[in-house]
């Protein structure tokens, strides 16, 4: 650095003359770095040895840090050093946690995929339970579903459809590629259920119980 150049010949003058510009630049650098607040040129000069030109040193310093990870910036009438804006992501420690989608969300998603465009009321009718706002919001946020066009029925309810992101995630070219009921049955996904027409005693009450059992079988 240029420090070497000056150190010998200005040694004796240093008591009276201002330090060389390279040295002044170092000073400004150190002060801006350590300062908790932006520092004015006046403040800088008050701290630096007599005869220093902080404004000029700042020009040099600012140029030196151009394109670096740290920038010299002006804040009002004062100066400060800040990390470059494009590196803000380094100031975050990201932890990503992958969680399995809830059963309610999966079912809602499945209904939308198989029946799109579908209204909330229709989803509720198919699922037999109301769909919580959170579930739909979550799917919207994941960008797996989006609003479709409104239905031409009374109240003109909004509909939901799946998105290209959905298809992408599940490796489908279109929603029509989703396996149908027949295929699901062939794949054994419907097998474990008693066939319709073989009524079981107390079935009505047993239903939710059996349901829970079933889901357990499927989920892991």
């Amino acid at each position: 650095m240029s420090d070497d150049v000056q150190s010998t010949d200005t040694e004796e003058k240093s008591l009276f003359a201002a330090p060389p510009m390279a040295e002044q630049e170092r000073m400004v650098e150190a002060v801006l770095f350590a300062s908790a607040e932006p520092v004015t040129v006046r403040d800088l000069e008050a701290r630096m040895p007599h005869g220093c030109d902080a404004a000029e040193a700042l020009v040099h310093l600012r140029r030196r840090y151009e394109g670096r990870g740290v920038q010299v910036i002006k804040v009002g009438e004062a100066w400060a050093m800040r990390t470059a804006a494009d590196l803000a992501f380094l100031m975050q420690k990201e932890t990503v946690e992958t969680r399995k989608l809830s059963r309610a969300a999966i079912e809602t998603l499945a209904i939308i995929a198989y029946h799109q465009p579908v209204t909330r009321a229709e989803i509720e009718e198919i699922r037999g339970v109301s769909v919580s706002r959170g579930t739909v919001d979550q799917l919207l946020e994941m960008e797996w579903i989006r609003f479709g066009r409104r239905k031409m029925t009374p109240g003109r309810p909004v509909t939901f459809v799946v998105t290209p992101e959905f298809l992408d995630h599940f490796g489908l070219e279109s929603a029509r590629d989703l396996p149908g009921l027949k295929e699901l049955r062939q794949a054994g996904l419907l097998e474990s259920r008693p066939l319709p027409g073989t009524p079981q005693f107390g079935e009505g009450e047993d239903e939710p119980e059996a349901e829970a059992g079933q889901s357990e079988l499927f989920e892991d």
């Binding site: 100031m91 975050q92 990201e94 992958t98 969680r99 998603l109 037999g128």
Partner: protein, 265 residues
């Protein structure tokens, strides 16, 4: 340990300066951190390298210090006296010719150890001073004035597989197929419904009333519905009794079941 001097010279009266120094020391006794600290201070009066110190001379100085303190009736802490006793022992060891019969370390060994202790303490003091004289953070060297805190961003990604999706759908569709068995609720009168109905009516019936009068209107026409309504109404009656709101009676087998409200006293 040839550095240790065995000459007897300083038995002569101390110089005035020495005495003044000794008195200053005694006055300052609280300023010392124990006997070793004092010994280190005394050893400096020898103005030699600590490695060439005369331990014998040091022992004399220390014992003189203790004597002086006693004469001035200054209370010395126990460890100063322990050190004095030990140094007196060391002094005798150093002065007397070694006894071949005697076990244990020689006077020279003990003196060498004391010299080592003093040198080590002095070395640590020097090191401490050097350490404190270093460029120190917050005094000579500074960290970033406005540190940026690292923000912890916790993002949760939800995921599902095609299999999850298909299973989910299968679950719903199978439920659909069972609907005829589950959902045929048109002809079912639940106990909750019966209870609601009866709670509203019981207030008006103060006397024994056949519970069949509580059946919902129009349900008697269909035998399926009648059966459901009767069962529900009976169950609801039992519930009211359980709650202490009514009592039930039946005069005989297959007689009408009658219900009466219990009025609060």
């Amino acid at each position: 340990m040839d550095e240790i001097e065995f000459d007897e010279t300083p038995q002569e009266p101390q110089s005035v300066a020495d005495r003044l120094a000794a008195e200053a020391l005694i006055v300052d006794v609280d300023g010392f951190e124990g006997p070793l600290d004092l010994l280190l201070m005394l050893s400096r009066t020898q103005k030699v390298d600590l490695r060439k110190i005369s331990v014998l001379e040091l022992a004399r100085q220390y014992l003189a210090f203790v004597e002086k303190a006693k004469a001035l009736r200054i209370e010395l802490a126990a460890d100063y006296l322990v050190m004095a006793a030990w140094l007196a022992f060391l002094k005798s060891r150093l002065l007397l010719p070694p006894d071949p019969e005697e076990e244990g370390p020689s006077g020279e060994d003990l003196a060498a150890h004391l010299a080592f202790q003093l040198e080590r303490l002095q070395a640590m003091r020097t090191a401490a001073a050097q350490l404190m004289a270093r460029n120190r953070l917050g005094r000579d060297v500074f960290a970033r004035g406005v540190p940026e805190t690292v923000e912890r961003v916790k993002s949760v990604t939800y995921t599902a597989t095609l299999l999850d999706l298909m299973q989910g759908y299968a679950r719903i569709r199978t439920r659909d197929e069972f609907r005829p068995f589950v959902m045929d609720r048109d002809s079912v009168f639940t106990m909750e419904e019966a209870l609601e109905r009866m709670r509203g009516m019981i207030g008006f019936a103060g006397t024994w009333t056949d519970i069949s009068l509580y059946l919902p209107e129009g349900w008697a026409a269909d035998p399926v519905r009648l059966r459901s309504a009767t069962a529900a109404t009976f169950a609801a009656s039992l519930q009211l009794v359980k709650e202490g709101k009514a009592e039930l009676r039946q005069q005989g087998t297959f007689e009408a079941i009658e219900l009466r409200r219990i009025t609060d006293k």
